[in-house]
Amino acid sequence: MDKTIATPAEAVADIGDNATVMIGGFGGSGAPIELIHALIDRFVKTGSPRNLTVVNNNAGNGHVGLAAMIEVGMVGKLICSFPRSADPRVFTQKYLAGDIALELVPQGTLAERIRAGGAGIPAFYTPTSYGTELANGKPTAEFDGRPYVQERWLKADFALVKAHLGDRLGNLTYNKAARNFGPLMCTAARHAIVQVSQLVPPGTIDPEHVVTPGIFVSRVVEVTNPAQEELLNRAGATYP
């Protein structure tokens, strides 16, 4: 078994129009910049993939990564919890112009919906959002005297995730708080595509330290010294 792919471009080559794509990261930490930029490169050259539904905690920052995807016009809908950042202009302008749809989900509910999608649980109940406008239209029920809101699983065609160490079997570790949504998204996507900062031989990662077991991962591509979104933005970078 060998899940390694030579380049980010090849790793994302089969993501097509209208696909649902989960993208890891919380703000810039864990943002898989090279995989995102490979997807943007193909869109700029061929006009595809277009009308993507993207699942991410945020809505991009500055003019790189997810913000650049939105800016070039390949995202039709965003499912996220907090579409604001230090520099949210790209999303804000598209949203206010009606050019992009937004499904706003409380952060813990977003995480749990993804977890449920990966675990084969079609729906669950949470106290979060009960009595608020984000619960409008959703079934509610009382358990042990407290009211709860029914939420549904969230699944995707693809996940783009940044990890730290990875092996050809897809076993992964992450770097500090860059872990965030990565392990969940790997479980909930039909194909989890992971960029790792270092590809290592199987056995190098202590089985006690594996965070994402390889069964959840379809493709691994090594990107040494990956770009950090925060540093790109501080340098005023734009993409493409």
Partner: protein, 227 residues
């Protein structure tokens, strides 16, 4: 209180007052922005473990400029540091800590708080881009949910109300409010006054509050050091 403004507490002083109520050994989540300031005023001798919902337990203050690691940030996306005993975890575990009732205290900001404990702190209505983050999860997870806030808005309108007029973050979730003028508990659907600035009369305080302030037991002077 500062010499220039003895009519209300500064944000730092509100944060200081809230910090005094966090017990030794508590697990605490501080909302992004103003509530983050509470960590600065943790009383000496107490060990408090801070949770940030993006996936760290027991993080420390920000590093010196130039030493930031942008994979090591808090929920406000500011660079932080680790302490001996820190732990990383993914988002589902992080919100299991929140929703599962494992946090002792969450301290959040507010646009409005109602006397039944309803909180509005995420949306000012239909204009602009809505953003909720983890606030709706936090209000239903922590064993104690406290709010720190100015007592009135910038234009002088009460923020403590009989009912919230802005979109709710959660219903019946807040149990204590630390304001720039007073400390108020929410008990049995009422605001119960616990402390007030010695320089403000009860009548004046009531006039700045949008629901009845109930006196049930002693009302202490709200005394906070200059910061």
């Amino acid at each position: 209180m500062t010499a220039s403004d003895d009519t209300k507490l500064s944000n730092a002083q509100i944060a200081w007052r809230a910090a005094q109520d966090i017990a030794d050994g508590a697990y605490v989540n501080l909302g992004i922005g103003f509530p983050e300031m509470v960590a600065r005023y943790q009383p000496a001798g107490r060990e408090v473990i801070y949770h940030t919902e993006n996936g760290i337990l027991d993080f420390g203050q920000e590093p010196p400029a130039g030493e930031e690691d942008w994979d090591l940030i808090n929920a406000g996306k500011k660079a932080v540091t680790l302490k001996p005993g820190s732990a990383f975890f993914h988002h589902a575990d992080s919100f299991a800590m929140v929703r599962g009732g494992h946090l002792d205290v969450a301290i959040l900001g507010a646009y409005q708080v109602a006397q039944n404990g309803d909180l509005a702190n995420w949306s000012v209505g239909a204009k602009g881009v809505p953003a909720v983050g983890g606030a709706m999860d936090l209000v239903h997870g922590a064993k104690r949910v406290a709010v720190i806030t100015e007592h009135v808005t910038k234009s002088g309108e009460p923020k403590l109300l009989d009912r919230c007029t802005l979109p709710l973050t959660g219903v019946g979730c807040v149990t204590r409010v630390y304001t720039s003028l007073a400390v108020v508990d929410i008990e049995g659907g009422r605001f119960v006054l616990r402390e007030k600035l010695p320089t403000i009369t009860l009548e004046k305080l009531q006039s700045l509050t949008g629901a009845e302030l109930v006196i049930a037991g002693p009302v202490a002077d709200l005394i906070v050091p200059e910061l």
